[in-house]
């Protein structure tokens, strides 16, 4: 009988202190034991994320070097490193190259390619869609070292695959068009993320809105402009924010061109590597990293402002 198995009626008076504790402590572990559970994770984050970040800020204010007396006894030099950075043409050259790299491969390349694939595949099912998506995602999930080697093999001056296919002796894109090469490479490498994000976003565009536009006689481009883009505006901005920052800090181009030839692909991530580790000026490198961080913040704030302004 239901009557026999139902629990006895709950007491009318509820312990208020206990009720309050349950509201913030759903598992009933208590502060100490709950803390013990998150402590390992917090410790790892502190050691590998928070401390290095603060350490970089500190290093930027010193003359710390990899070797020599300044390595043994670094001295605080104030903002000397920052002044040196902003007055160094090599730094501004790297910044300009990074802007080209971000605009070319992320903002234009990955967004356009990713969206185009997502748009063409939106109504498709079956093997073609799976094959295209599989290939695009493969480019994304393979380790950088592997894909870099593949691209060097493809583009190399001495017997590169592309050269052999095109029968063009002396064809050396990595030397003749280094920036274009890393832009194409990074577009190919990163389009998967944009494709998946836009694929999900396009699924949220109500079919009736597209059909309404079609019935009005709207062309493909007009449907995109009047229905699709307004609907996925938030997705576009979030996508731009993420891939801009990722690309800004990307070090993979180094594995294709090593920053060369003649510094033509020395983007900021590579520039920091060169001054801090090859040039051994860790203090100066830390200062440049701090400037990169500030640029990233400005870019992020710009996108978040756009995202919040509900036009």
């Amino acid at each position: 009988m239901a009557q026999a198995t139902s629990p006895p009626e709950a007491p009318e008076v509820i312990d208020e202190a206990r009720a309050r504790r349950y509201s913030s402590d759903a598992a009933g572990l208590g502060r100490l034991r709950a803390g013990a559970f998150v402590a390992p994770a917090l410790a790892l984050i502190a050691v590998f994320l928070v401390f290095p970040a603060l350490w970089v800020l500190y290093l930027g204010l010193t003359n710390y070097r990899l070797t020599g007396t300044a390595a043994a006894e670094p001295k605080l030099v104030g903002f000397d490193n920052f002044v040196k950075a902003v007055s160094d043409p090599a730094f501004w050259n790297s910044t300009w190259l990074t802007v080209q790299f971000v605009l070319g491969s992320a903002v234009i390349g990955q967004v356009v390619l990713g969206f185009t694939i997502a748009w063409l595949m939106r109504d498709r099912t079956g093997p073609l869609k799976r094959a295209v998506e599989g290939l695009v995602i493969l480019a994304w999930i393979l380790p950088s070292a592997v894909v870099s080697f593949l691209w060097v093999a493809l583009l190399d001056r001495d017997g590169g695959t592309l050269q052999a296919l095109l029968h063009l002796p002396g064809f050396a894109p990595l030397l003749d068009h280094p920036m274009l090469s890393i832009v194409v490479f990074n577009t190919w490498r990163g389009a998967a993320f944009s494709m998946m994000l836009y694929g999900a976003a396009l699924g949220n565009v109500p079919p009736s809105h597209l059909e309404s536009a079609r019935l009005a006689g709207a062309s493909g481009w007009q449907q995109l402009r009047d229905v699709v883009f307004p609907h996925i505006r938030g997705h576009i901005l979030t996508n731009l924010l993420l891939i801009s920052l990722w690309t800004f800090n990307d070090f993979t181009p180094f594995m294709l061109t090593a920053g060369g030839p003649d510094g033509q692909t020395e983007v900021l991530a590579v520039h920091v590597y060169k001054v801090a580790l090859l040039g051994q000026e860790l203090g100066y490198g830390a200062a440049v990293s701090t400037v990169i961080l500030l640029i990233n913040l400005v870019v992020a704030v710009f996108y978040l402002r756009l995202l919040r302004s509900k036009k």
Binding site: S208, R214, P230
Partner: protein, 356 residues
């Protein structure tokens, strides 16, 4: 404005589902036509095929004198109101109404004037700079109607135009839509799963089942003389009594009782054949005493319909329903008798109506 004609229209979806099976239908110019049927019967597919949003597998769609079977939706000169209205959330009411004109490259001043003119007619003049998100369901529907009207299309298509409104608003909108369609005089096809909506609004209607049209006619014809037992069971707010019976000379033996042969089937029946006897509860007269040709049994259920009651009698092992005016409803368990109106009762043979 134009007539719509479908010839042998067939739609087979990939995977072999036959949504439309060789349909023929002619809708004259200016008619308000309803496509009615249960979900999955193909009524929405039919509407979308007329619109060009679905490609016909076979047959032809003719609008006016033009065969538009292979024509893009935007070039068919038709306009459609979607179930969710499909208003663009980032555009205000003016821009939404004027959108089809903008695509047709009408100048900005002209299309704004047209939008205001149509909007004013539908009582939207105070709301022209609002966004759809700031409008009630009824207002959104009128914006969708205004957008359709602004196009001056040859025919309008409405997909479940009332289903997103709440119950009270739906009745108002029903009257409003019917009046508007009459005033505009534009050929209009609408889809609904609600038989009351179809009966109330349409000039003529088609009842569909599994990709076939089971009956075409005026609401009165479809209600009074359903062509088959499917339509008979589907139409009517209280379902029709459909009782197995046998022909016995001049009478029918139904549920152990003798009833006279209905007027519509006189002289068309063969002695001894098995038939289905149909009568709407509204056409059954209830009495506490036996009457000539009545179905007698015990009162099993009494349901309140407001101004009347639906009484269910247990006649043998079948149930017979009758509508009783308020005040005359019987007690449960007493003996009751339902006498079908001879001029309204129907006979079905193999599921099809027997009539001259």
């Amino acid at each position: 404005m134009a007539a719509i004609e479908l010839r042998g229209l067939t739609k087979v979806y990939p995977g072999g589902v036959k949504a439309l099976d060789s349909l023929d239908l002619a809708i004259p110019d200016g008619e308000f036509f309803a496509l009615l049927g249960p979900s999955g019967c193909g009524k929405t597919t039919l509407l979308r095929t007329i619109a060009g949003l679905e490609t016909a597998t076979g047959g032809a769609v003719v609008i006016g004198d033009r065969d538009v079977t292979g024509v893009q939706p935007g070039a068919r000169d038709i306009a459609m109101v979607f179930q969710d209205y499909a208003l663009f959330p980032h555009m205000d009411v003016t821009d939404n109404i004027a959108y089809p004109l903008r695509i047709k490259k009408v100048g900005k001043a002209d299309r704004q004037r047209k939008a205001l003119e149509v909007g004013t007619r539908l009582g939207l003049d105070q709301l022209m700079d609002r966004r759809p998100g700031q409008l009630s369901g009824g207002q959104q529907q009128r914006v969708a109607l205004a957008r359709v009207m602004a196009t001056q299309a040859k025919a309008f298509l409405f997909d479940e135009p009332l289903s997103n409104l709440d119950a009270r608003l739906r009745l108002e909108a029903r009257t409003f839509l019917k009046k508007l369609q009459r005033e505009l005089g534009v050929t209009t096809v609408f889809v609904t799963h609600d038989q009351a909506e179809a009966l109330a609004m349409a000039d003529r209607m088609a009842v569909m089942e599994a990709g076939h049209i089971r009956q075409i006619g005026t609401p009165a014809e479809v209600f009074q003389r359903p062509a088959n037992t499917f339509v008979a069971a589907f139409i009517g707010s209280t379902p029709m009594n459909l009782l197995d019976g046998t022909v016995r000379g001049d009478t029918l033996e139904v549920a152990g009782c003798k009833v006279p042969v209905p007027v519509s089937a006189e002289g068309l029946l063969v002695d001894g054949e098995r038939i289905v006897y149909g009568v709407r509860p509204e056409y059954n007269t209830y009495s506490a005493e036996p009457a000539e040709g009545s179905l007698g049994g015990k009162v099993a259920i009494v349901e309140n319909l407001g101004a009347s009651h639906l009484v269910t009698l247990e006649v043998g092992d079948v149930l017979v329903q009758a509508v009783v005016p308020e005040g005359d409803e019987p007690e449960l368990g007493v003996d009751g008798f339902a006498t079908p109106r001879r001029d309204r009762a129907l006979v079905y043979r193999d599921g099809e109506l027997v009539s001259a």
